[in-house]
Symmetry: C2
Subunit: 127 residues, 2 copies
């Protein structure tokens, strides 16, 4: 299944590039101002994840957020063992840069890592 370039895809991609945080579906829907359909956004983001262009974060609010793979794209072993921070006040979700490693019990095989810490971000803390 070969991927095609479409205005919608480009729009979602550049919205993710412009934001320096992870974005949720509804935030993207907002940003794209109705120029792209809901379901299409979902499908584009899922494709980005399949293709390793973005990664999905399931936050503790039960919603999915998406961030471009920047620092990690050049590695052959594409892993996302980093935490994300979600501000409970401004609701921004951002990647924390430090990679973490967890040692699992014997016999366990890790496939996905999903770490989210929620709290107050710097900007919101100094209010």
């Amino acid at each position: 299944m070969k991927r095609r370039n479409t205005p919608s895809k480009t729009a979602v991609l550049s919205a993710l590039e412009r934001a320096n945080t992870a974005l949720s579906h509804d935030k993207l829907l907002d940003t794209l101002a109705g120029s792209v359909d809901r379901a299409t956004i979902y499908r584009i983001l899922n494709r980005f994840c399949e293709d390793g262009i973005a990664h999905r974060i399931v936050a503790d609010d039960g919603k999915q957020y998406f961030a471009l793979c920047e620092d990690c794209s050049h590695q052959e072993e594409h892993s996302h063992n980093h935490f994300h921070f979600r501000c409970l006040q401004c609701d921004r979700v951002e990647c924390l840069t430090t990679e973490v490693s967890v040692n699992l019990p014997k016999g366990y095989l890790a496939e996905n890592f999903n770490g989210v810490i929620s709290g107050k971000c710097r900007a919101c803390g100094s209010l």
Copy 2:
């Protein structure tokens, strides 16, 4: 708001005790075999979390799982900085015991920790 003891509450609590893993709502609904209403289970679990009897895990499948606070209940600083493992095959979610600490960027305040690693558990790996 003072808490009361009810058969439903007891049933949910002992179901959680019996299981040595975290349980999802539907798993509990199953276990309780229709003796407790869906909404009631949700409410009981939310109360358990408020009261520090259980903790909530938002897994990467978007569902909530609940586990009793065992090792952590005796600490005054009730924290849950441990990962959870969800098996993609048998769908069991369990607490990993090692506590982790993440250092956040300056000015960030952590309030909740939610770490989930999904993959294949020991039992399912050796098939």
